[in-house]
Every structure is written in structure tokens, then in C-alpha cells.
Amino acid sequence: MSLASRPDDIRLRPDEFRMLRDLVNGHAGIYFGDEALPVLERRLRERLAALGLKKYSEYYQFLQFSSSGLTELDEAIDLLTTNETYFFREDYQLRAFSNEVLPRLADDAASRRRLSVWSAGCSTGEEVYTLAILIVESGLFPNWDIRVYGSDISRRCVGAARRGIYGPSAFRTAPAPFRRDYFIERADGSHVIDPIRELCHFGHLNLMDNERVRVVGRVDAVFCRNVLIYFDQKSRKKVIDMFYERLIPGGYLFLGHSESLLNISTAFELVHLSEDLIYRKPLSPMAARGGSE
């Protein structure tokens, strides 16, 4: 019997866990508590096998010092992040966007006739297409230049988002007409129709990379829902500041229902909508109640 370690024999030691956790946190802002050790061990094991490595410490060295370390880190993060999402997720917030925010934006941006919305951490694209459909459905923006950006740190997710083909579970909370009007049913799944697809642009972005996120330009609204829950406090602050910088004055920030800017000192102002509380970049810096510094 061979004495060589089999991949499933390889154990992640606590010191190795801390090194890997800190590396992922520094790169992508995602933070794993101590209880996540078995998750990291299980999910990264296949990478060790693929690279022919025998210890997690070797994997850490590879990530840090190999010429392909950055690409491999993307692979690791791909495996470590949860990509579960669906159309019309947290619909009360989407109703608020549709019924209260879009009319305001239609007024505010009327002179520009241009609307840009960013879904940051868009996973496989369901939120991006949902937002595009809501904008079209509103009927408020005929012949406007409409762009809905979707970004994610996972290349695999971005690729899937671009394809725009979904299975039944993605529609678990979507109203029936939505699927009928904006998708074409084919053998391999439901395909987003071309006029909606053309409004949506996807990119591979790490929200912690301030230089790269500039590609998004200035936007009217940012959706970053159920993403920051995976970040530590410091990274969360950094990302929120970056959103502030990317929003045009008067632009809106939507966070997940369990997320808030409590404990994070920011320049955003709170806006009370009928069904939700959202954040807004003040029209002028003077109006800001706090500092983002």
C-alpha cells in the first residue's frame, strides 16, 4: 500500500487555515471565522489535488509566490464563495426600486437621458437581468441609454451570467408573466431575450481592487445585496467608500436586508421608502451628515 498522501487524507491545520484565511481576506475582503475551517478544507482540497500539492501550506506558498498565484487565488475564491441566487430575490426591495426610486431617477437624470445601475457581486446574473427588466417594465426610460452592469469576483459566475440561461429554480419567486415575456424556453433552459441582454454588461471585478473598479464609471444606483455579509469590518468600509465614489450625487445604494451601514461611518444619507430603507449619496457634499473618512 502506498504511503503517499491521498487528497482526502490531507488535513488543514489551524495555522494553515489562518494563513489562507488572511490571504483571501486581504485579496477579496471575504472573511472566514474559525468555524469555517472544515469548509475551507473541503472546498480547497480539489485544488491541492489538481496542483499535485501535499499540504495546505504548500498551497499557500503557491498562491503567494507562484507566477500563476493570482489566477489560482481567483480559482480558490471561486470555490469558497456561495453563488446561490434567483430572480426577484427580496422582492420588497425591488418593488421599492421600481415604484419609488426609478421615478425619481427618471426625473433627476432626464437631462442626461442615461441610466446606469450596478449590481456588485452579481453572481450568475439573475439580479442584473431582474433590474434590466424592471427598468424596461417601468416604461419611464424610452430611448434612454440604459446600462446595467454586473460584476463578480468569480470568473465562472461572470461566464454564466453572460450566457443568460437559467433553470427552473432561478424562477422560484418570479412572477409568471416575467418568465413568459422576457425568456425563451429551450431544451437547455430559459434564455434571456436579446433586447434585455443587450442592456446588461458583465465584468470580472474584485470589489477590493480600487483601481479596477473604476471601469464601471459613475452610476445612478448600486445593488450590493448579501455580499458584504462575507466581509470583515475593515473591508466592508473600504467597499462602501468605493461605492460612494462610484455613485453620482443623488445616487442610491441598496444593501441586503441583513446588512446596514450601522457601525460604519459613511457619508451616505438614509432614505425612508414605503417598504424599505436605502442609502443615498447626498446631492452636495455639504448635505452629508457623516464623513466617509
Binding site: 483601481e211 473604476r214 471601469v215
Partner: protein, 703 residues
């Protein structure tokens, strides 16, 4: 360590192994102490001792006392083995041996002078040319012949001087001298004026070498002389003339075509030999190459099919190509027949020849064949047909090629894209119409994007309409479509595409990111300013991705922004060679006179590839500091940097550059660098002599 007296004693031993070991021990002595022993050992009767002595001489190096002792062997003596060994040893010392041997040549007898000429030839240094000219002026014809042979040996390093001497020698009365000169000229590939060759081609001794030289003469008379020789009884003479004629035809196309028009035919014997020589089973590859060409020149009908077959034979494909070119449109029906049937590789090769063979009246037949081939099941055939249809196709070919692109057919997409772009540029209105009709069809995004890029916009309406279309195409799930769209945005060049290009920087495909960076350098505002320069400056300043930074540095050069120099300067010193080389090459292309400082800094970079890039950039800067830096690089620790510095100085030109090169030649030990220095000096100091290396090796003349 062996004492001198022990070595002295052991060298007198009757046992060769004892003598060999004693010889090996000489290496521990000083050159002055060891010189006599080396000379004794080089003259030993046993080859192993002589071989050991050569190694010891090399290890001791070209020290003055040793050189002085070695040259004494060139004076009259009975030991032939010693003299030969000394010649080899001195030649191996190269430049260092030349002044020592030159000092004694006037005191040597004829044999000694011949040996001196051999040393000079073997030293491979143009410094010997002056001494060789003196030997060539000697009264003894054998010495003069040896001098000419040595001049040919080093001629590649001093082409002009060698050419002058060798051409003059053709007027000598002595036949052997003339033969040595002709062979030298043939070896160096120097063109000999036909006037000098005319009377020599029929010469009993010089004829063969003269015919070999005739292949470079570029004259119809030379062709006639070779044609006469090809009918010669001797097979060796036939082959010589065959190769010469092919050389002449390949180097002087009008001559080949003129000769073909004259309708010259070969005699039966020569024709039989020609067909034999070009047969695929012939083992004489050079003869086969030549035969394919000559068959075309004499319009040999059997040669067409053999030439088509040979298109896929790597050993002879170049000559097969040339042969079909010489046959011209007359070969078209045979080539078209091969397009339709046979192995894919051969069909594709035949398609590749069509552009050259088509003439007025045959275009439609060719297009028909190509249209059938673009849908061939073989991607190789379809690709070749698409590439050719791009050149020969008509407006009606746009739609089918557009369809092939839209279909993204495996294995031929790239050829189809090229063909569509080419056809769109030739028939813009038809291309616009096709693209407009297809604009609603998502599957046609890639093809429509190509048309927009090829015509640089205004295809679907205004430039804004095109950019909007391309932005939508950038949402495609298909990476090839996104890549084509981003390239089209760059081709259109409008700043309206800025946002699309910006976001493409976040594409998950590396190739698209890099393409987006390049596009940033090409987008312009209406008043002609760079739209992407700000973003590029941010990228080069902040990105920690070497590949992206390097691409941004190059794009910044395209952007022609006045801030480029300042942004690129720190990059030229980057630890990443990829980034530094990109910055240096871009700086070199800027017209900004301030670029010299960063280039000088980069020329002192730790990475030799960066240094080389800086030297190439400095070569084009006419500034004394650039010359100084190029001169310093002649002493760089890396030989390839020194070699490049020599080449750069040769192109920089001027007396100061020549002085730097000459100065370095004295201390340069690396043969490849010395060769480059010789080349550079020739370029600076003398007008170039017509010289062409043989493309088909001329056979050796028999004396």
C-alpha cells in the same frame, strides 16, 4: 608540479605516454618558460602528444614569448607535422597572432608565406587583410594563390576589400590564381560582372567556376551560357548549369520571364535529365529544386503537375511556388483541377496559388471554385478559399462570407473574418447593406462588428449607432464576438466608445482585457485628442498586473499624449522586464526629445533584454550621449548585448562610431561579437558591394 628539467627529460622519452604527460605539465610553467617545450611537443611524432600540445598552447594563451617562438616554425624546416600544428595553433589565437606573423612574412620563404596566409585565413579577422594583400603581391604564384584563398576565408568580415582583390585577380594571367579568385567569389556570393565571366565560361579549367558565378550575373547572356552548358555531355556539368539557371531565374524574375517568352527548348538528352531531376523520388533535393524552376523557365508541360504536387513538400515548396509563378496563367486550368480534388493539404496549397495565376477572363472560373471551397468540410481547404476570396472575390461574395463568419465555423473563423474585412473595404456599400439587414440578428453580431471595424464606422447609420451596436455586442456570451466588437470599437476610434472599452477592461477573458487596453490608445475626441490617455496613465501608474501595464504602456505610445514620457519613465526601470521593455520601446518611438534621459537610464538596467531594447531605441537618437551609451554597451558583460551594440553602432554610423568599434575589436574575444563589429565597420566605412548569398548551393568546381 613538474620542474622544467623533468619536462625536458620526459619530452625526450621514447614512450609517447611519458611525453604526453610531460606536455600536459607545461601548462604550469610561464609562457616564457614553456614556449620551447610547446614547440617541441607540437613537432612530436605522436599525434596524442601534438594534440596535448595544442591544448596547452591554448591554455597558455597568446603571450608574446610563446608567439615569438611559434612563428619560428614558419621558417624553413623539415618537420611538416610541426609546421601544420603551429599554423593551427596560431590561427586559433586569432587577432593576437596577426601582428607577430605579419612582422616575419618578408623573411619567410615561399612555403612559409603560404603557411602565414593559412594562419591569416584561419584567424578570421579582417585585421589580416592588409598582410594578405602584401602576400598577394608576392612573386610566387603559389603564395599569391594561398593569399587569395585566405582572403576568401575572411572575406565575409571585410566584403568590400575582399571583393576588390578577388575581382582584380580575375584579370591575372595565372590560371590557378583566377580559379582561386572565382571560387572565393562564389563562396562569398559576390556578383561578378558578366564582362569578366564571358570569356571564362568555355575555359577548360575555369569554366565550371565561371558558370557557377554566372548564376549571379543577372544577365541574359549568362542565362544563354548556362543553357548551352546544360546540354553538355557530362552529368556534372548538366547539374551545375541546372542549379545556375535556377539561381538566375529566382534572383532575376524579368530575366526568367523573358527567357520563357523566347521559347527556348531543351535538347532531348537535357530534357530527359531535367524530368529525372524533378521527379519526387529524386534523392538530390537541390537538383530537384533547381529542376522545378528550370522546367518552368523552359515551359516544360510535364512540370506543372509536378510543381503543384511539390507545393506540399517542405523541401521544395518554395521553388514549386516560384515555378508556378513563372508558368503563369497557363498553369491555371491544372491548378483549378487540383483545387477540386485530392488531399486537403494539396487542395489548400493549390488555392493559395490562385491569386498569382488569375488573369482577366479567368476571374469568374476562379471565384466559382472558391465559392465551392469555402463550404468544404475540410477547415484547411475552407480557410485557404476564404483567404483567397477576400482578395479575388466580388461584391456578391460578401453575403456568403458574412454567413460563414456568423456561423463561427470551427477552424476557419479567423480566415473568414479576414476575408470579410477585406471584401468590406473593397465593396463598402454592399457590405453596409448586408450588415444593416443582419443587424437585428444576434448571431450576426460578430460579422456585423467586422464590417463596422473594416469601414471604421458609419455602417448602421451614424458612428453613434455603430458604437451603440458594438456596445451591445460586448454583452455577448461568446468571447470571440466580444473580442471582435472591442477591436471594432478601436477601429472606429470614436470617444463614444470610451465607456464600452472601459468596462471591457473588466472582461473575464484576458485577451479581451488586453484588447481593451490597446483600444484606449486609439480612441479620439472630435478634435483629435486621445480619449483614453487619462485612463492609460492611471493604469500604468497603479496597475500591479505586469501584462496589463505593458499593454497600457504601448497603448500610451499610440495615444500620442504629451504626458506619455513622464508616465513611461518610471516604467522603463521596472523590475518586470515585460513592463520595462514595453516602456522603453514606446519611449523610443516618441518624437519627444526628452526621451533620451529615460532611455539612457534603461540602458543601464539589470536585465539585458531591457538594455537591448534601450540600445535599439538609442540607435535612432542622434545625440552624442546616445553614441556614448552605445559605446559603453560594447563592454557589457552579456555577449548578446555587445553584439547588438555593435550592430546599432553600425547603423548609427559616423567616424566616432567607427572609432569605438575599432577600439573594442582589440579586446573582444567572442567570435560572434567580433563578426558583428566587422559587419558594423564594413557598413560604416565602405560602400556595400553587390553580394548575394546563394539560395541554392553552387556545386564545387572541379579543377
Amino acid at each position: 608540479m613538474k620542474a622544467s628539467r623533468d619536462i625536458d627529460k620526459d619530452l625526450g622519452s621514447s614512450d609517447p605516454e611519458v611525453r604526453r604527460r610531460a606536455t600536459a605539465a607545461i601548462v604550469d610553467l610561464s609562457p616564457a618558460e614553456g614556449a620551447d617545450f610547446v614547440l617541441r611537443a607540437l613537432g612530436d611524432s605522436d599525434w596524442r602528444v601534438r594534440k596535448e600540445a595544442s591544448s596547452v598552447a591554448a591554455a597558455l594563451g597568446p603571450a608574446e614569448p610563446l608567439l615569438d617562438r611559434l612563428v619560428t616554425a614558419l621558417f624553413p624546416g623539415d618537420n611538416v607535422g610541426l609546421r601544420n600544428a603551429v599554423v593551427e595553433t596560431l590561427a586559433a589565437y586569432g587577432r593576437a597572432a596577426i601582428p607577430v606573423v605579419t612582422r616575419v612574412i618578408d623573411r619567410l620563404d615561399a612555403d612559409g608565406k603560404k603557411l602565414a596566409a593559412e594562419v591569416f585565413g584561419g584567424a578570421h579577422d579582417p585585421l589580416a587583410m592588409e598582410a594578405l594583400e602584401r602576400l598577394y603581391a608576392d612573386a610566387d604564384p603559389n603564395v599569391r594563390t594561398a593569399a587569395l584563398e585566405a582572403i576568401a576565408d575572411i572575406g565575409a568580415l571585410a566584403v568590400d576589400a575582399a571583393s576588390r582583390i578577388l575581382l582584380t585577380a580575375l584579370d591575372a594571367e595565372d590560371t590557378h590564381l583566377r580559379l582561386a579568385a572565382l571560387e572565393g567569389l562564389n563562396r562569398l556570393g559576390i556578383v561578378v560582372p558578366w564582362e569578366k565571366l564571358r570569356t571564362l565560361t568555355g575555359h577548360r579549367i575555369l569554366g565550371r567556376a565561371a558558370l557557377a558565378a554566372a548564376s549571379r550575373a543577372g544577365r541574359i547572356e549568362a542565362a544563354e551560357a548556362l543553357a548551352l552548358a546544360i546540354e553538355h555531355e557530362s552529368l556534372a556539368m548538366f547539374r551545375l548549369a541546372l542549379v545556375g539557371l535556377a539561381e538566375l531565374a529566382l534572383s532575376t524574375e524579368p530575366l526568367a520571364l523573358h527567357w520563357k517568352e523566347q521559347g527556348i527548348r531543351l535538347g532531348n538528352k537535357a530534357r530527359e535529365r531535367l524530368l529525372e531531376a524533378m521527379a519526387p523520388e529524386s534523392q538530390d533535393v537541390e537538383g530537384r529544386r533547381a529542376a522545378l524552376v528550370v522546367a518552368a523557365v523552359v515551359n516544360e508541360p510535364a512540370g506543372v503537375d509536378l510543381a503543384i504536387d511539390a507545393l506540399v513538400d517542405d523541401a521544395v515548396s518554395r521553388e514549386a511556388d516560384a515555378a508556378l509563378h513563372i508558368y503563369g496563367p497557363a498553369a491555371l486550368p491544372r491548378v483549378l483541377a487540383r483545387v477540386a480534388n485530392g488531399a486537403s493539404e494539396l487542395r489548400a496549397a493549390a488555392i493559395g496559388r490562385l491569386t498569382d495565376l488569375v488573369e482577366k477572363g479567368s476571374e469568374e472560373a476562379v471565384r466559382l471554385a472558391l465559392r465551392a471551397a469555402i463550404v468544404d468540410s475540410s477547415p484547411e481547404v475552407a480557410s485557404a478559399a476564404l483567404a483567397t476570396l477576400g482578395v479575388l472575390g466580388g461584391p456578391e461574395d460578401i453575403a456568403p462570407v458574412f454567413a460563414v463568419v456568423a456561423e463561427k465555423r470551427q477552424g476557419c473563423l479567423s480566415a473568414a473574418q479576414g476575408a470579410l474585412a477585406s471584401l468590406a473595404r473593397r465593396y463598402p456599400e454592399d457590405a453596409r447593406l448586408t450588415a444593416s439587414v443582419a443587424r437585428r440578428d444576434q448571431s450576426s453580431q460578430i460579422a456585423t462588428s467586422i464590417v463596422i471595424g473594416a469601414l471604421k464606422g458609419e455602417v448602421l447609420g451614424s458612428v453613434a449607432d455603430d458604437v451603440s451596436y458594438l456596445s451591445a455586442a460586448l454583452s455577448s456570451a461568446d468571447a470571440a464576438t466580444r473580442l471582435t466588437a472591442i477591436e471594432a470599437v478601436a477601429d472606429v476610434g470614436s470617444d463614444l466608445g470610451m465607456e464600452a472599452v472601459q468596462f471591457a477592461l473588466a472582461d473575464e477573458e484576458r485577451e479581451i482585457q488586453l484588447s481593451a487596453v490597446r483600444a484606449l490608445g486609439r480612441l479620439r475626441t472630435k478634435d483629435g485628442r486621445s480619449a483614453g490617455a487619462d485612463r492609460l496613465i492611471e493604469l500604468v501608474g497603479e496597475s500591479n498586473d505586469p501584462e496589463l501595464t505593458a499593454a497600457a504602456a504601448r497603448a500610451l505610445g499610440e495615444a500620442a499624449d504629451p504626458r506619455a514620457r513622464m508616465s513611461l519613465r518610471p516604467l522603463a526601470l521596472s523590475k518586470s522586464p515585460l513592463v520595462a521593455v514595453a516602456a522603453v520601446e514606446t519611449l523610443g518611438k516618441l518624437g519627444d526629445p526628452g526621451r533620451i534621459e529615460p532611455l539612457l537610464e534603461a540602458a543601464r538596467h539589470a536585465n539585458s533584454e531591457v538594455v537591448k531594447a534601450a540600445l535599439l531605441a538609442l540607435e535612432g537618437v542622434h545625440d552624442p550621449r546616445a553614441l556614448d551609451q552605445l559605446g559603453q554597451a560594447l563592454s557589457h558583460e552579456a555577449w548578446d548585448v555587445r553584439r547588438l551594440a555593435a550592430d546599432c553602432l553600425g547603423r548609427f554610423g559616423g567616424r566616432d562610431a567607427a572609432w569605438l568599434l575599432r577600439d573594442r575589436m582589440l579586446g573582444e574575444g567572442e567570435p560572434l561579437v567580433r563578426e558583428a563589429i566587422g559587419r558594423a565597420l564594413s557598413a560604416i566605412e565602405a560602400p556595400s558591394t553587390a553580394r548575394r548569398p546563394a539560395t541554392i548551393a553552387p556545386p564545387k568546381a572541379e579543377s
